[in-house]
């Protein structure tokens, strides 16, 4: 009865594949030299890499200056990295008090287990871990801002890459749930909920993020009573989050539309309520389909945090500008500072991207 159990091995002995189709040689043959066009492309690529990489390494490392107190002391024609020694802390922490750097470092250190419990399964103590992950944003806020016995540090001291991380991570954490609610709202049967969601999404998507940031910083203050003031960084975080969640909503709506009607019907027929069927059946599938789009939005959001420079916050690019216009270093560090910022962003964004590929593989239930 079970046709898959029929044993075919009696019809012939299975042999290992030919040696030139497996291993390194097999890989090179199938990926680099299969056919004339591919072989040509391989050689052209190698030539281009040879043109680019050695001079880049020469400039960035071998001919670079690593010591000195001012730009004039960088005399070689390579990169000038001498500023790293004095200025790297500003790049990372902005104007955060030097004596409290440990609080930022601790917050980043504590982020890793919090992320791990959200991102990976089968970790020890995962029941408590999930609660820890939920509590992390509050813990991080307490560490960074202070209060409750810890010395208070106002958010206008935040800067450098830490500012990008704070704004980016808060956006990532909050935009996903808000985006999910908006996507569900847009597909709701209740006209009021639907209208509200559509209006919000279309309005936010139709306006540039910079405009929203200006609204948050300048115009909002005109409408608030004079004695009420919302923290500037909080306003920025809210705007970035709302901006990303409008995009997120549309990405997730695409995923929701890909779920066949039969899934809703099966869930209904089993007696599951709306929220139950969404949480247990529809969203796990819809979010899985939407992973590439969600990650796209996350990465875009994280890079958009550099726009805060326009409204006068000194993120990592702001710090680069500060150094570039500093008389001691002027004209010497333009490329170097941007390169450093690029490396920071690349490391984070590339990690997000790799993780999402890993996640897609893990969630693929059609594997045999």
């Amino acid at each position: 009865m079970n046709t898959t159990d029929i044993n075919y091995s009696k019809t012939g002995k299975s042999r290992p594949p030919p040696a030139n189709t497996v291993g390194l040689i097999g890989w090179v043959r199938t990926n680099l030299f299969n056919g004339l066009l591919n072989t040509c492309l391989t050689f052209i690529s190698c030539y281009l890499l040879w043109l680019i990489i050695p001079p880049l390494l020469d400039w960035a490392i071998f001919n670079a200056d690593f010591t000195g107190n001012v730009g004039r002391e960088c005399t070689t024609d390579g990169a000038c990295w001498a500023w790293l020694d004095q200025r790297i802390e500003q790049f990372l922490y902005g104007f955060y008090p030097a004596g409290s750097y440990w609080r930022v470092n601790l917050a980043i250190l504590l982020l890793f287990p919090a992320l791990a419990y959200v991102l990976f399964e089968n970790l020890p103590f995962s029941n408590y871990g999930r609660w820890y992950s939920l509590a992390y944003p509050f813990l991080a806020a307490f560490l960074l801002v202070g209060g409750f016995g810890l010395e208070g540090i106002t958010t206008d001291k935040f800067g450098g890459f830490m500012l990008n991380l704070v704004a980016g991570l808060s956006g990532i954490i909050f935009s996903l749930p808000i985006g999910i609610l908006l996507a569900l709202g847009r597909r709701s049967k209740l006209p009021a909920v639907r209208l509200l969601s559509v209006t919000f999404i279309e309005f936010i998507r139709g306006v540039p993020l910079i405009t929203l940031l200006f609204v948050a910083i300048i115009i909002l203050q005109l409408f608030l009573p004079p004695n009420v003031s919302v923290d500037q960084l909080v306003r920025v975080m809210i705007m970035i989050t709302l901006f990303a969640s409008a995009y997120m909503a549309e990405v997730i709506r695409g995923g929701l539309q890909a779920i066949p009607n039969g899934q809703y019907e099966a869930a209904q027929a089993m007696g599951l309520g709306y929220w139950q069927s969404m949480r247990l059946i529809i969203l796990p599938q819809a979010l899985k389909i939407s992973i590439p789009g969600i990650v796209n939005t996350f990465i875009g959001l994280f890079k958009d945090t550099t726009l805060v420079i326009i409204i006068g916050l000194f993120d990592i690019l702001g710090q680069a500008r500060v150094l570039q216009t500093n008389p001691d270093w002027m004209g010497k560090v333009d490329h170097e500072t941007y390169l450093l910022a690029a490396i920071f962003f690349f490391v984070i964004c590339f990690s997000i991207s790799r993780y999402s590929i890993n996640l897609e593989k893990r969630l693929d239930t059609n594997r045999d």
Binding site: P260, A266, I281, Q285, N366
Partner: protein, 256 residues
């Protein structure tokens, strides 16, 4: 079908009462003045050409479709806009779909335990034990930890039957359960359904498997253009159908 005929059930209690049911899709009058009473343990086969409203009819029984006129009473509960009543009915009525509709992100076992855990609030271990029992009944306990995408169509449909049975329903609805299957797999699903019929389950089944209908049916209903055209015991229905439309339909599906 070589299986022996199941004993015809005793007529004691009506579990489904449909009176003067009318339903429209837009302007299309899909169900017209349907009256149908099903008693406990009865097996009813519904057949008819496509678009005749047979699927819509059984979907009205668990309110996957809303009716506009008439009364549908299931297990003493009348279906209305009251969500509580709908939930009450749905927990008593199992449904098996043409396209299986298993949840692809869950294993066969998790598909079966889901409603037990979240609707019935059964503890996980008990739910899994019960689910394994039903997976054994449909003869695929060894596939419990596989995902639907790794199972054949017939296996998926048997998981879907086990999933419905886990909720211990009083009525089972089958909406063309074998139409999406390869010929080789139809038999394994029909065998499962025949075994289920032998347990005394009340079953309404939309199908064109006429051999199967002869084996288990207490009554065969023929629908065309939204109406019940003919309704009879299988022997009489197949041997001498009364209406011309039924004769035509039977001659077409029994021709080969």
């Amino acid at each position: 079908m070589a299986e022996p005929k199941t004993s015809k059930s005793n007529v004691d209690q009506n579990v489904i009462e449909i009176t003067a049911l009318n339903k429209w899709f837009g302007n299309f009058h899909v169900l017209q003045d349907i009256n149908l009473t099903v008693s406990q343990g009865e097996k009813i086969i519904i057949c008819g050409p496509s678009g005749s409203g047979k699927s819509t009819l059984i979907r009205c029984i668990n309110r996957l479709e809303e009716h506009q006129e008439g009364k549908v009473v299931v297990n003493g509960t009348e279906l209305s806009h009251d969500l509580k009543d709908i939930d009450a009915v749905r927990s008593e009525v199992g449904m098996v779909f043409q396209s299986f509709n298993l949840f692809p992100h869950l294993t066969a076992l998790d598909n079966c335990t889901l409603a037990l855990i979240w609707v019935r609030k059964t503890p996980k271990a008990d739910a899994e034990a019960l689910a394994m029992e039903y997976l054994e009944r449909v003869k695929i306990p060894e596939q419990a930890h596989k995902y639907p995408g790794q199972l054949s169509g017939g296996q998926q449909q048997r998981v879907a039957i086990a999933r419905s049975l886990c909720m211990n329903p009083k009525i089972m609805l089958f909406d063309e359960p074998t139409s999406a299957l390869d010929p080789e797999m139809i038999k394994e699903v029909l065998d499962t359904m025949i075994e289920l019929a032998e347990t005394g389950m009340t079953m309404l089944c939309v199908t064109h498997e006429m051999g199967f209908a002869k084996t288990i049916a207490d009554r065969v209903i023929f629908m065309d253009e939204g109406r019940i055209v003919e309704e009879n015991e299988p022997e009489k229905f197949f041997a001498n159908p009364e209406h011309e439309r039924t004769k035509l339909f039977l001659s077409q599906i029994l021709a080969h």
